[in-house]
Amino acid sequence: MTGPAAPPAALTADEAQRFRALVMPHADAAYNLALRLCRRTDVAEDIVHDAWVRALAGFVSFRGGDAKSWILTIVRNRFYDWAREQRLKGMARLTRPANDSDDADPDWDVADVDQPTPEDQMVGKTEVGALHALIDRLPPRLREVIVLRELEELSYREIAQVTESPIGSVMSRLSRAREALARAWREREAQMAGVRP
């Protein structure tokens, strides 16, 4: 029997066990970060899956350290790869005839800060939906630090590692993100108070 279908870079049973113990518990964190970054559930699942495939391929060289930061770094990189691809597709699309069939391709539709996201329709309905909408409106660099700090509870040092930024930048982005969120949240509260006298 020839072996072209044998999976490459196989982990030993022990390594696989270690992977399950160290990395699998962070699947929620990975999905949460991916979803807040790309803002589409289907894409977020693909990003996390891609990240897992890469993490598995590189797991042999992962020698300790914080597994959560490690996997989140991979997820974040996969997101920016995806976003870059979408941008390129978008550019390619602009150079094509206007009625090109690719217009029907939903993939080029990069998450755009100025476009309403599906969550926007939930504003005013549920608090959770409103919070998602508010986070999603932040630029990605601010979005990722707020997600990593407030939802994933990473330290400044870990956030700096995941986002490959100096700690000073992490702190200033965090502060700007909070400023923007707090302002938007106050406005919403005021609106809600106006609706319910």
Partner: protein
Amino acid sequence: MNGCPEWADRLQALVDGELDASHAMEVEAHIAGCGACAEARTALLDLRAALRSEGVRAVAPRRLMARLDAAVHASTERPARRVFPVRERAAWSVAGAGLAIAACAVLAIGVAPSWQTASLERDLVAGHIRSEMAQHLTDVQTSDQHVVKPWFDGKVDFAPPVIDLADQGFPIVGGRLDYIDQRTVAALVYRRGRHIINLFVWPDRAPIGPPEAHPPGGYTLVHWARGGMTFWAVSDVNEADLRAFQRLLEARMPS
């Protein structure tokens, strides 16, 4: 968050638990005498409470967890076949009988221990899930059965029957190699509407237990054996459709 600008960084660091005890006390002392900074801290904590309320943090869907699990499974080295002597023995003990059965279609029942079947089915479902990801579906992509069949030549040491059922609503879309139960097998890919059916084929005369009542992830599995080959159809179509698929295939198989 309109506290004193010169304290803003330290205030944030305090709220984030990033200050050592002596610096924390310093900031606390300032807040105690500064209403604006006290308010700024309350605003930070309120925002945190809102962000950490239930449901804000997304949870990985079950479907994704199954995919991740399959990914780990797929990149794990298979133990040597010798580790499972039970299966080998089972294969030999029925080899003679197998020759007799080979001529007719057989749906074998309840011979293999259930744990063996369960792990095989996990492999099959994982193979099916992998195939649903873009680019993994087919190695040879065509609706022409006469292209698919020779493609397997030299890649596997058996000739899987390649039958198109386009006229019955199950067009063949291609084939690929997959790795199931520690062996390379042929996977034929069919479509039913928007659904994908993976038909895994390999030579095996050993009867295998019937599919679990509830296979992993809500997929439907149909298994049969014929002419010394074992067939597993895996899909998310309903069982009636998958049974119909099986009957249509069997009707066209060379006897």
